[in-house]
């Protein structure tokens, strides 16, 4: 079995009118199927990418995989464990949380502006009681900063003193702090410039090798996905329409929606088209 498996994963949102209005107008319940019966399997140490347009359910899947949102039906299994299994003990759940971390799209919104970088990075270490001793905590923070290409001195600065790319590095360091096995990257470079995006993507690749991390990579940008993913799942309105390796998906796409996405994506190699 794969390291991370979702089976028949679904999430519905209830958009119906209030009960009385429904009765008077004789309307049925209205459900939005944000994610509908999605089955994916992610192998350890590999990158699985989910692509699709806004509203296709990419981030909803990420939330469910991270255990932040309860699935309407279906399960997410990590090494055979389910976050939402009621009989899962507190300690076990804690260790699962520790092994799943997230990197968000906007490095501007995901760092507390009033906390120093050192405190931001210490937070997961303290929350999971990984290191009790203060000096060792600081040593760990220095180590993390160096791993993502920042200087240990940056620990005393506030997030606003950094550029977008550097902030995303801080977010990555924070995700690494609890020594996770899988990191969910939700559009990690959409807010960044091209040259900075290249730096962050390369950093993510290096870290994957160094710590044998598994990534669930979410993006709308097929070009970015092609540089990162071992396997790609294409989502359309909550349904997984195609799943393939990059070489197959880009050379011989099967589903019409994948073909449409590929032809619509602006690609720098197309300069000769004019």
């Amino acid at each position: 079995m794969s390291f991370l498996t979702t089976s028949h994963l679904s999430r519905y949102f209830d958009l119906s009118e209030p009960w009385l209005v429904r009765k008077i107008k004789g309307q049925p319940k209205k459900l939005l199927k944000a994610v509908d019966e999605v089955n994916i399997g992610v192998e350890r140490g590999q990158t699985y990418a989910l692509v699709g347009e806004s509203g296709s359910g990419k981030s909803t899947i990420a939330m469910m995989v991270a255990g932040l949102l309860k699935p309407s039906s279906g399960t997410v299994l990590f090494n055979g464990d389910n976050f939402f299994n009621p009989s899962l003990g507190k300690i076990k759940r804690m260790s699962m949380r520790k092994s799943v971390q997230m990197i968000f799209q906007s490095p501007y919104a995901s760092l507390n502006p009033r906390w120093k970088v050192g405190d931001i990075l210490k937070e997961p270490i303290k929350a999971f009681s990984l290191i009790e001793d203060e000096t060792n905590q600081i040593n760990r923070v220095c180590e993390l900063l160096e791993q993502v290409g920042l200087s240990p001195r940056d620990m005393l600065k506030y997030p606003h003193e950094f550029s977008g790319g550097q902030r995303q590095r801080i977010c990555i360091a924070r995700a690494l702090a609890s020594k996770p096995e899988i990191i969910i990257c939700d559009e990690p470079t959409s807010a960044l410039d091209v040259s900075v995006q290249a730096q962050v993507l390369n950093l993510l690749k290096d870290l994957q090798q160094a710590f044998s991390l598994t990534y669930l990579f979410i993006s709308h940008d097929l070009a970015v996905v092609s540089t990162m993913a071992n396997k790609i799942g294409v989502l359309k309105q909550g349904i997984l329409v195609e799943e393939a390796t990059p070489s197959k998906l880009f050379l011989r796409p099967e589903h019409d929606y994948t073909k449409m996405l590929l032809s619509a994506a602006p690609d720098i190699s197309n300069a000769s088209r004019i």
Binding site: A198, N202, K205, S226, A265, P266
Partner: protein, 321 residues
């Protein structure tokens, strides 16, 4: 055919925009010169802070203190406009912004907003303006019946269509499109860019397309200007610049752009070391030399001018000798 060169629609000559902070002055745009020809789509590309939007604002006279135009000329149809851009703003040069939700008034019907724009710039009565507005809506692919709808009832792509209709309403000769599709999905982006391109080719309207996306540049523009730290680093035909870039920054930018390619997983992206310097920290000489892998001693001493009307790089000078 005539050998006479086409007279440019817009000429920017040696434009400097300066930021005054207490007693220090920083150049946000430094000696920028380029032309826009009638009917062409010129792309302005660069990273955040390179001065792309600043150039757009300068053309429209939207530069406000603490920024000011300290040098240079902006000539539109033979007239200097850097002092009184209001005479052309809206009527002859219009603008499309990134976020279509912010550029439409949420409290007014789109029809009213169109009619208002039309009647501000064209002298026609209300009934004519309404017909004109409805025709415009149809042209950008929106049902005439939606004339009385409010902006929130439209999706992002539809709103951007309305914004394009608004920009086209006064029949401008130049549209400055500032990241018009960055907030949209790829499939919608392709439609909007195709629409913008088609309408402007039909009317002979020029476009300055400001974007950070090299893919959009490749597929949409005729010529492209690459900006770095408020300076023009390279300009030329899009296919030439993208296929054989002369400036090391352009080369790096293109190499760093991920491509849709089945094999790219195995290789790493090229990465330009460092980041673009802050306005207050732009080095002497070429602003890129500290990050440049090919820099020569001259690069840190003198700022290269635009050589061969193509790139601002001392290496080009060597190449010809």
């Amino acid at each position: 055919m005539t050998s006479k060169p086409v007279k440019p629609l817009l000429e920017i000559q040696n434009l400097d925009v300066t930021l005054k902070n207490r007693d220090s002055y920083f150049k946000a745009l430094d000696d920028l010169s380029f032309n826009v020809l009638p009917g062409e789509i010129l792309g302005l590309v660069g990273e955040s802070g390179a001065g792309k939007s600043m150039t757009g604002s300068a053309i429209l006279g939207l530069i406000e203190p603490p920024l000011f135009i300290s040098k240079g000329k902006i000539i539109f149809k033979g007239k200097r406009i850097e002092e009184n851009a209001i005479s052309v703003r809206g009527s002859m040069i219009s603008m499309i912004f990134q976020d279509p939700l912010v550029s439409l008034n949420p409290l007014r019907k789109i029809g009213d907003q169109l009619v208002e724009t039309i009647r501000t710039h064209i002298n026609i009565d209300k009934a004519e303006a309404i017909t004109y507005a409805k025709n415009l809506l149809e042209e950008v692919g929106i049902d005439r019946e939606r004339f009385n709808a409010y902006p929130h009832t439209f999706s992002g792509g539809m709103r951007q269509r309305v914004v394009i209709a608004l920009a086209l309403a006064p029949n401008p000769s130049l549209i400055i499109a500032d990241e018009p599709t960055s907030a949209l999905d790829v499939s919608v982006q392709a439609l909007i860019l195709a629409l913008l391109k088609r309408l402007c080719k039909e009317r002979g309207t020029s476009i300055i397309l400001i974007t950070h996306d090299m893919g959009v540049i490749a597929e949409t523009t005729d010529r492209v200007a690459v900006l770095y730290s408020g300076r023009l680093s390279e300009i030329g035909k899009t296919s030439e610049v993208l296929n054989s870039p002369k400036h090391p920054y352009t080369q790096g930018l293109i190499a760093a752009t991920p491509r849709i390619d089945a094999d790219s997983l195995k290789t790493k992206l090229y990465q330009i070391p460092g980041t673009m310097p802050d306005l207050s920290e732009i080095p002497d000489g070429c602003p890129f030399h500290q990050r440049c892998s090919k820099s020569i001693p001259k690069c840190s001493e003198n700022n290269p001018p635009l050589l061969y009307d193509r790139a601002s790089c001392w290496l080009l000078e060597k190449e010809s000798v």
